[in-house]
């Protein structure tokens, strides 16, 4: 064949080519890297921000307070209660002489109340609390780190469930069409007109609020938008010749869906991933802000915003929470833009 010279060029799958186009968008690519570092960092939040030292060397023995509870008496205290490592006495004990302790860079956990703060709560940023404390004396930086983790993990879970449900329902509607499609569409219309917020309020009154309950409730309504896109892709792809050829080859429906139509129908799914994540983070934050979200005591960006609203004078609370939210959402949006461009069929040949 005349094109045998072409055969020397490296071969790339459509996915690999889209990834190259994505990387060429510097803003989106760096957003992805930064976001990835932030998420991985927040997964190890216990190492970064914790009120317990990571390792303690005390009187010739090594202790790991990070993973194990020790009583105060172990370190020469008077009570058999778990040690408070921020207590100046304990701190003195474990750093005296040959003893040493390795603290996390930010020595506060999400729930740690700094009883030994030098300023009244909420305190403005100090050398002890880099971003200040909230109205209960908890360290703001620690709250933000843990709140970010909860938000991102919640968004990932919500997105994953939404994608799986959306793809399955969309695939069933699009592939089988006809009456199946009709029935599903009517169901979606009815289901989609349920008042989501009222249901959330009612359920949070009936059940004790928890992250899991919130996840289930939001998932019940989160799949519909995506399912429409997948359905449309399936309707388009199922009548193309390569699917007919696969049928003529004798493949089963499951094989045709899995091997042929699904890989060619995922473009809208992938494109919407970052936008769905930012929507999920916003949803959780707004519900927390309204007090309908995660149970009290869970570190949460929405709850912090509510505090910021409550004490306007404590500018550091609202400002830093706002900054975290804006940066997270911006990173996701930049990634979404780059992804959308990378998967745009009109640019696919460049």
């Amino acid at each position: 064949m005349s094109n045998s010279t072409e055969a020397a060029a490296p071969s790339r799958s459509p996915g690999a080519r889209a990834w190259r186009r994505f990387k060429r968008n510097r803003l989106g690519y760096w957003s992805l890297l930064i976001f990835f570092v932030l998420v991985v960092g927040s997964l190890f939040a216990e190492l970064l921000s914790n009120d317990r030292p990571l390792i303690v060397r005390y009187e010739g023995n090594t202790y790991f307070p990070l993973v194990k509870d020790y009583a105060e008496t172990v370190f020469g205290g008077d009570f058999a209660t778990p040690a408070d490592y921020l207590d100046p006495f304990i701190r003195e004990q474990i750093t005296r002489g040959d003893n040493w302790a390795l603290y996390a860079p930010n020595p506060y956990g999400a729930q740690t109340i700094n009883y030994f703060a030098k300023a009244p709560n909420p305190s403005a940023p100090t050398w002890d609390n880099w971003l200040g404390t909230d109205d209960r004396g908890r360290d703001l930086l620690a709250q933000l780190i843990y709140g970010f983790r909860v938000s991102v993990l919640f968004a990932l879970a919500l997105t994953a469930i939404g994608v799986v449900l959306g793809v399955i329902t969309g695939a069933i509607q699009g592939f089988f069409g006809g009456k199946t499609d009709l029935a599903f569409q009517r169901f979606i219309e009815i289901w989609g007109s349920m008042p989501e917020l009222y249901l959330l309020i009612i359920f949070s009154a009936v059940f004790s609020p928890s992250v899991g309950l919130l996840l289930i409730l939001l998932s019940l309504f989160g799949w519909m938008g995506l399912s429409d896109y997948v359905r449309a892709e399936f309707l388009r792809n199922r009548q193309l010749d390569y699917v007919r050829a696969a049928r003529a080859m004798g493949l089963s429906n499951a094989q045709i869906i899995w091997r042929h139509i699904l890989p060619n129908s995922l473009t809208p799914v992938v494109t919407f991933l970052p936008f769905r994540m930012s929507a999920a983070i916003l949803a959780l934050t707004s519900l927390d802000f309204l007090g309908l979200g995660v149970p009290p005591g869970t570190p949460s960006l929405g709850e912090l915003l509510n505090q910021g609203k409550g004490s306007i004078d404590a500018w550091w609370i609202s400002l830093s929470t706002f900054a975290v939210l804006v940066i997270t959402l911006l990173l996701l949006t930049f990634m979404g833009d780059a992804l959308r461009d990378a998967l745009d069929p009109r640019k696919a040949d460049q």
Partner: protein
Amino acid sequence: MTAPMLLEVSDLRVAFGGQEVVHGINFSIQAGEKLALVGESGSGKTVSALSLLRLVHNAEVSGRALLLGRDLLALSEHQLRGVRGDEVAVVFQEPMSALNPLYTVGDQIREVLQLKKGLTPRQAVAASHELLASTGIPEPARRANAFPHQLSGGQRQRAMIAMALASAPKLLLADEPTTALDVTLRVQILDLLADLQRQHGMAVLLITHDLNLVRRFADRVAVMERGHLVEQGGVGDVFAAPQHPYTRKLLASKPERDVAEPVVPADAAPVLKSQRLRVSYPVRLPGFKGWFRKGEFVAVKGADMVVAPGQTLGVIGESGSGKSTLALAALGLMPHQGSLQIDGTDWAQAKKAGRDRALRQRIQVVFQDPFSSLSPRMTIEQIVGEGLQVHQPALSVAQRRERVVTALADVGLVDDPGRGGDWLQRYPHEFSGGQRQRLAIARALIVDPQLLVLDEPTSALDVTVQKQVLSLLQRLQRERGLSYLLITHDVDVIHAMAHEVMVMKDGEVVESGPVERVLQAPEHPYTRALVQAAV
């Protein structure tokens, strides 16, 4: 040259994003002359013509194009707007998308008349009816109130021509005006264009890939290859004594008959046999009735066909004649009535007994559009090897790969089976149309079928590639004794490939028999029209 030059194009260059696609071409048209610009897809013929009116988006155009002494390429956008649709009018390939679906054709013609000729609305109505009548549309006053979708394809193209003629242009650019139409219509439209050209004394620049049309229509021909104008001259001269090798190759690309004539014993069991085959689609009934029951559109109204081993049954017909539905039914992809047997086994019974997978191995298919018939996210190895996974699951990965490489070599994609390996991990987008069609053939052949359904296997390909693919199919038939069920609208293809022919019109088989008899002495008037259109 006595007549003054109407259009003189010199050193026309067109580039997209710095990449030149037309490399400095020169041609000229006299007033009242018919010039054909011929070339395969990607040769730059359409871009060259449309960039004269700056109708090509994002193109960087340089050179000179003198229309009666005025350089079109130097005109401002505003001045050029005065030329477009006035001195130079365009007829596009696809009238369905070139006409605005929101306006009646009468409105669209009247718009031109009022804008370019300054007629009053009342005068424009009368003039638009006249124009429609002159293009041979019956009942022009009624048709003028029709929306584009209410007209047939041929009528739409006629309306499009009427619109182009409304401003009495000196030059008509006709960009593949008949490609979207059925063969019998093509001749009519072309004759109409020639008539109107004579009446109005305008010049026509016909852009086409179809040499039959050139021979029939044009005075002079200019041949383009990859952005170069390689040859031009009078139609008679160029066709009789082509100078450039590319022109010779184009002219020699008419498919040739090179098929085995197997002697089929009278008692040989047919590979495919159907009796009173009837296929219908459910359609929505209009109004309230449609809520409760579905109507029925019968696409194939009782077809009897027989495909003998090692032979080709050609099915010819126009779009909407039911020939593609017939192909899908033969593949068992369409519920049908009547009997349809593959190698003595009835499709319906096989499906009932759950043995249809074994039957699918015997009948395979090659579709028309090589771009949609290969899944873009699978590698060549996955695409070609898939049939083996289904029908011979016992094969190991290495054995399967070996069979895939052999199949690629069989269809002429790989010269040397030893180094076919580097093709396996490639994706379809890296292949040209002809190569993709070979891939589709390899995918079908790998399960070793007895019957191949070829649904317009070459109509999406360029003429030179078409010839290569057809000779490949002929060779495979000779070597393997394959039977083909060949669906096409092209009499040349039938002539080159078929042993038996079946002519379909509106779902009915109007004529069938051995290819020599049907093509040489057609009985049915429709067959006669088809055969004449192809000459």
